[in-house]
Symmetry: C2
Subunit: 156 residues, 2 copies
């Protein structure tokens, strides 16, 4: 992870479909060298994959919500994690400190669809307690890391 790698990550964060030659010239290396570095970043697991940012509303997803979850019995944990894995509407699942155990980010078609995910999906487990926070409007949503301070000793 030197400054070339940082530039590569920054470039790919801005446009993952950039050609190797664009990538290479923008960071000041030859194409083979840039491609080699990207392959190594992939092998190290620093680059986990490439994706596309789709406007959720333009494809019919009008409802975003955060669902805080508490499991009333510890035995539920593995069932819960499996359920989360299967529910495509659950985009994120974080184990959190505080009053609740997990925080989920859920993306649905509308509130009726959210009801389905919560009532037929999550609540299909017994001893699960939820608190849902509806998102009224999303003002910022970036998958980019700050990348101001990359720790070089990591990822080697």
């Amino acid at each position: 992870m030197d400054s070339y790698d940082e530039k590569i990550l920054r470039m790919l964060m801005a446009n993952a479909r950039a050609t190797w030659s664009d990538l290479a010239s923008s960071i000041g290396l030859s194409s083979p060298a840039a491609a080699d570095r990207v392959r190594r970043l992939e092998e190290k697991g620093i680059i986990k994959g490439y994706g596309v940012a789709v406007d959720p509303e333009l494809v019919g997803y009008f409802c975003t919500a955060f669902v805080a979850v508490t499991l009333e019995r510890a035995e539920l944990r593995s069932d819960f994690l499996h359920l989360i894995d299967c529910l495509k509407e659950v985009q994120e699942c974080h184990h959190i400190a505080g009053d609740y155990d997990y925080l989920l980010k859920v993306r649905c078609i509308n509130t009726k669809d959210l009801d389905r995910v919560i009532s037929s999906g999550l609540k299909s487990l017994p001893g699960i307690r939820t608190r849902t926070t509806i998102v009224l409007n999303t003002l910022k949503e970036s998958t980019r890391l700050p990348l101001d301070q990359v720790h070089p000793e990591k990822g080697e």
Copy 2:
């Protein structure tokens, strides 16, 4: 937005660096047709961009938190939104229903860095109240939309 476009989005969500010919053959079109469709999806705003998924911990970001924010006076709103825009550590900002006004997702180097973002960043505004929830572990984090039910009438 017909079934070809849906397949394109699904393919790009899985690997945005796929070549045109891979993309084309996987959806059953010729390369120029596939490239045309992607260009149209970009023009319509359905595709907002392409990105790379970087492992946060492997580049030194060990702390994720959700910060709920309440603004005590409505006049703060524009200053707050400008601040959010500038703070690179704030990856997401959602206007929410409920006890708090906004929910932020924040990605930092460590808890000390989180303290800096909250104390010197957010709290630099007067009348702002926050409640921070630390993420202990992230079990799922995908930027993919479910895309099970694309509304064809939208995005035309």
